[in-house]
Structures are given as C-alpha cells and as structure tokens.
C-alpha cells in the first residue's frame, strides 16, 4: 500500500482514534463515524467519513457556531446529495481529526467544505478538498469496539 521500508510503512500514521461503525449520528445511519473539531470550537463532534462524498459538508447549527470564522458567501451553488439537491456555498474550513489520548498527534486539514443551511444530515468528511491529501486506514478490529481510524500526512 505504501512505498518505503517496513519502518517507514509502520510510521505513516501520525495519530489514531477509535471510530464507530454502523451507527447513527442524529437520526442518520452512517457506516463510519470519526471524531473531529471544526475550526476553533473547543468541543469535538462526530462526523461521517464518506469517501463517496464529493465534498465535506456542514449544516446550519455548526455553520452558525463558526459563522464568524467563515468568509463572506461569494457564490451559491447547488449540490446533489443523498438527501436531495441543496443550496450552499463552498468555504475554506479548518477541520481537525482528533487522536485518542496517548495515540499520537491530531491532523488539521484546511479543507474545502460545502456549508448549507439546508443540510440536515451529519457533518460529512468527503473526498474532494479533505481526504484527497491525507493518508488514512480503518482497522475493523476483532470484536466490536476495537475499531481504529489511523490518519497521517500524505507526503
């Protein structure tokens, strides 16, 4: 999967954290939920890790919470989502993947995120503008509760 020596391969991840598999965020069923922090909010939240999503997404409540940290809306556009077509804007949003205590460093991604008041689903971490420039792996573990999400820089 990764080039380099065994040592380099084992060190690609800079941090890791437990994740939830096949669960619900709010009322939405998600396959993989990881913990993250949006911008400089002092609290973390769950996010749907979705490699099939074009963009990361945040909805109204989170958008209001970080409103002062977003630039002005320049251009609205439509986005086709699994919940239908919605309006919103693309913004540069800093999202930090949280590592469990003692499990390495966090990873902060200055991402491009679709911000929409119409989005009622969970925070989504999508491919374009977020996952495309990082390494990550999911270890499903042997028994439920042992799932680990590894993440690191793509260098």
């Amino acid at each position: 999967m990764f080039k380099g020596t065994d040592k380099e391969r084992s060190e690609w991840s800079t941090g890791n954290a437990a994740y939830q598999a096949i669960c619900k965020i709010d009322s939405w069923p998600v396959t993989v939920a990881v913990r993250c922090r949006i911008e400089t909010l002092e609290s973390g939240c769950s996010a749907f890790l979705d490699t099939g999503a074009e963009w990361s997404m945040i909805g109204e409540e989170m958008a209001v919470a970080i409103n002062g940290q977003l630039g002005p809306p320049i251009r609205s556009l439509t986005m086709s989502t699994r919940l239908g077509t919605i309006f919103g804007e693309l913004h540069r949003v800093s999202i930090t993947l949280l590592a469990d205590p003692g499990q390495g460093d966090e990873l902060t991604i200055e991402s491009t995120t679709f911000v929409s008041e119409e989005w009622e689903g969970p925070v989504v971490l999508g491919y374009r503008g977020f996952l495309e420039r990082m390494r990550f792996a999911l270890d499903p573990g042997i028994i439920p509760g042992e799932q680990i999400f590894y993440f690191g820089l793509a260098e």
């Binding site: 002092e42 693309l90 205590p101 902060t108 491009t112 820089l153």
Partner: protein, 189 residues
Amino acid sequence: MNELLEKAIDKIRALPDAEQGAMAALILERFPDGQRKDTPPARPWLGPVVPLGMAPGDPATEISEGEDWEATPENAERICEHIKALVEASRVLEARRIVSAIPPGVSTELDYWKRVLAEPVVRVTKPTTDGDPRKDMLWIEKNADKYKGKWVALKSGELLGNHESYMELHRTLKQAGKITGSFFFRVGK
C-alpha cells in the same frame, strides 16, 4: 477547419515523403494529446469542454473551443459561471486546473474560486483531547434513548449537559468553564 491549420497541412503535403514523415513525428512528439509538452496551456479553459453525460448548451459547455478568453476583469464573470458549472457537474479537477492558471487579483470572485478549489492543506497538530472518547461512546450506547432530539455534551463518559440547541449548550458549558475537550453529539428523535 481552422484556416491556419489548413495552410499548414497544405504546406506539409507539398513536402517530400521523408520530410512529411519527419514533420509528423515532430508534431506527435510535441503534441501527444493536443497540448504542447513543454509549456502549460496559456488559457486552459479553452479546451474542448463538452463532458460525458452533458449536452452542448449546458452551462459548463458555454465557453467553447476557439473562444479567446483572457483572465481579465471583463471576462471574470463568465469564467466564474463556467467554474461554477464545472463544480456543480463534479468536474472539480478541471475547475481547479483552470483557476490555478489564473493570477490572483483579477476579480474578487475568481480569487474566491482560487481559494476554495485549492488542494487541502494538511498539518500535524498537538493533541488537545484529554478525555476518554471510548467512555463517551459507551455512554451514548447506554443512555442516548433518554435524550432523543437533543444535543448531549460528554467528557470521559460523564454527561456535562444537554439541550435542543447546539449553540445554547455550547454557551452554557463555556460559561461554566466546561467546554474544553468536551464532545457534542446529537441524539436522533
């Protein structure tokens, strides 16, 4: 066909066979896919833009091959429309390629597209979590049913507060000095 191209082809046809072959090899070497190898396209938005699954006349196809669109303030609005259409059609790499070739300062909106279509920047940061997230997950599994439709704030499996409004819960915990390292989760109805 372009008049200049027709003249060039006529001149090549007039050459001896050996020279025609050499000319063809040179063209194929320098223009293997329609673009020069050694220089980036001066105006990348001029390429053929009719995409798979889109018909001519769709917004993303409005700038057609042959139109000479310099990145000037006068052209900025139409280029932005084209970028927006590409993004809405999930052709982000194409849109990114176009805006990356445009210098900053042409227009506010083009600068916006340059910023939001840039590749993400990733950096390693020091950990700030001091709670035990696994205890939060266990708490949710056991207790979430009691808080349907509400946000709950947790830290190491301890409930710090709950409210229907994210902002209200955030404000309450911040005032109480409990916000740092907390984990917010919305329980479904």
